[in-house]
């Protein structure tokens, strides 16, 4: 089936380029199984129209996704989701998480928390989230 063009949540005024937002969202939708192998992405035109963004930008995102092997161009039909994308290498994922954690801990210091308090909160949050998912 063809996914609806409202699938994407585009924020043009974000620091993240629109094409990158689209790529990330396709990855996320596939990971969350809202897009399954065999599904068609909404057409470039539909996405451009519904989000009021330039079609060339949408088409750029689709080409990247094709190059990354997430979707396949089907002649006359559009882009088909082929398989769950490979996850980024561990090093890269660790780096992403590290940046998020860094920002959080800097903020914790600004809030006047000391080291043991910070570690305590981190443990609490980790436990709560990990339990929820097991």
């Amino acid at each position: 089936m063809t996914a609806s063009a409202n699938l994407f949540e585009i924020n043009p005024s974000s620091g993240v380029p629109i094409y990158r937002q689209l790529i990330e969202q396709v990855y996320a939708l596939v990971a969350g199984e809202r897009l399954r192998p065999g599904d068609m992405l909404p057409s470039v035109r539909q996405v451009a129209r519904s989000a009021a963004v330039n079609p060339m930008t949408v088409s750029k995102a689709y080409s990247r996704l094709e190059a990354e092997g997430v979707v396949q161009r089907v002649r006359g039909q559009g882009m088909r989701v082929v398989k769950p994308p490979k996850t980024a290498p561990l090093r890269k994922r660790r780096e992403q998480f590290r940046m998020l954690a860094h920002a959080a801990i800097v903020r914790a210091r600004q809030l006047g928390l000391n080291e043991s308090q910070i570690r305590e909160v981190l443990n609490e949050v980790t436990d709560a989230i990990l339990q929820e998912h097991t």
């Binding site: 620091g15 380029p17 990158r20 129209r49 009021a52 330039n54 930008t57």
Partner: protein
């Protein structure tokens, strides 16, 4: 070889002793929507007027659809649509009459499109042009520029006088125009618009050009610009040394052990090198076009 809709080379324009344009190079590929950004008074309007042959450049050249801008042929003019910053029309005519009068100049005129736009933008067809508001006048200017379905559409601050909802509608129309051209296949329309409203550029432009100090400071894809310009928050274990520096930084602010640096050439490698050289923690922050624009103009 296909001719560029707009090709500007080493363009200079001097008014008296004031050098407004100091060697502008700008090429607009077919099918592109280019947002021209720049501070008020930086020369956007002068550039557009020189590019279209409305002002004579001091040096350099501009070609429109392959035709020298200063000697534009009637054929090229028929393929060009232009909306000036301040639309001047005929105050004694009714809106409907101005449209009919303009239509008569063009061999191709898409009246159904014009009717549809007038309805969408609620242009009062029976009112006289004189008492129209600035926004209505600008809307009329846009309708008149779109009626002959130009291949190249140039708009100088097209949305400055429109309210937010009319602006959004206008952006949609721009995209529709591109879309129609795509569907038809061969005739690929190109649009250049100047503005200082960065959020409009972010939405519809595929490329952005930044005019600064009489030259094009950046011209390329908007996504590329956002990938390149980032803000780094750098934290060192102790106060940063006086020798601390970052190559090609747009802006550096150091406060003890913390530095905020905007860079023009972001890469993972740069971050790695900075980490190793200075033994620091670095977080990377994305910047939107407005923030990038401010950083490029020295904060």
């Amino acid at each position: 070889m296909t001719t560029l809709p707009l090709d500007i080379r080493q363009l200079e324009k001097t008014f008296g002793s004031k050098r407004v344009l100091r060697g502008v190079d700008l090429q607009l590929p077919a099918g592109t929507v280019l947002g021209l950004l720049g501070r008020n008074g930086c020369g956007k309007t002068t550039l557009i007027k020189c590019a279209l042959g409305l002002l004579r450049p001091t040096a350099g050249q501009a070609t429109v659809l392959g035709d020298d801008a200063w000697h534009l042929s009637a054929e090229s003019k028929a393929r060009l649509g232009y909306v000036p910053q301040e639309v001047v029309s005929y105050p004694w005519m009714r809106v409907r009459q101005v449209i009919a009068y303009t239509a008569a100049f063009y061999p191709t005129w898409n009246q159904p499109l014009v009717d549809a736009l007038c309805r969408r933008w609620q242009l009062p067809l029976e009112d006289r042009v004189g008492p129209l508001s600035v926004g209505q006048l600008q809307t009329l200017g846009i309708v008149l520029a779109l009626g002959h379905e130009p291949e190249l559409l140039v708009l100088d601050e097209p949305v400055a006088s429109l309210d937010p909802s009319a602006r959004r509608q206008f952006l949609r129309v721009l995209l529709d125009i591109l879309d129609e051209a795509d569907a038809a296949g061969n005739r690929r329309r190109s649009i250049l618009f100047s503005t200082h409203i960065t959020s409009d550029v972010e939405r519809v432009a595929s490329q952005v050009a930044i005019l600064q100090d009489g030259k094009i400071r950046f011209h390329g894809e908007l996504g590329e610009l956002k990938d390149r310009v980032k803000r780094l928050r750098i934290t060192a274990p102790a106060d940063l040394p006086a020798s601390f520096s970052v190559p090609d930084a747009l802006d550096v602010e150091i406060d003890g052990s913390v530095a905020t640096v905007s860079v023009n050439n972001f890469s993972d490698r740069l971050v790695g090198e900075l980490r190793e050289t200075w033994n620091v923690e670095i977080t990377v922050h994305d910047l939107n076009l407005e923030e990038i624009f401010v950083e490029m103009h020295g904060g």
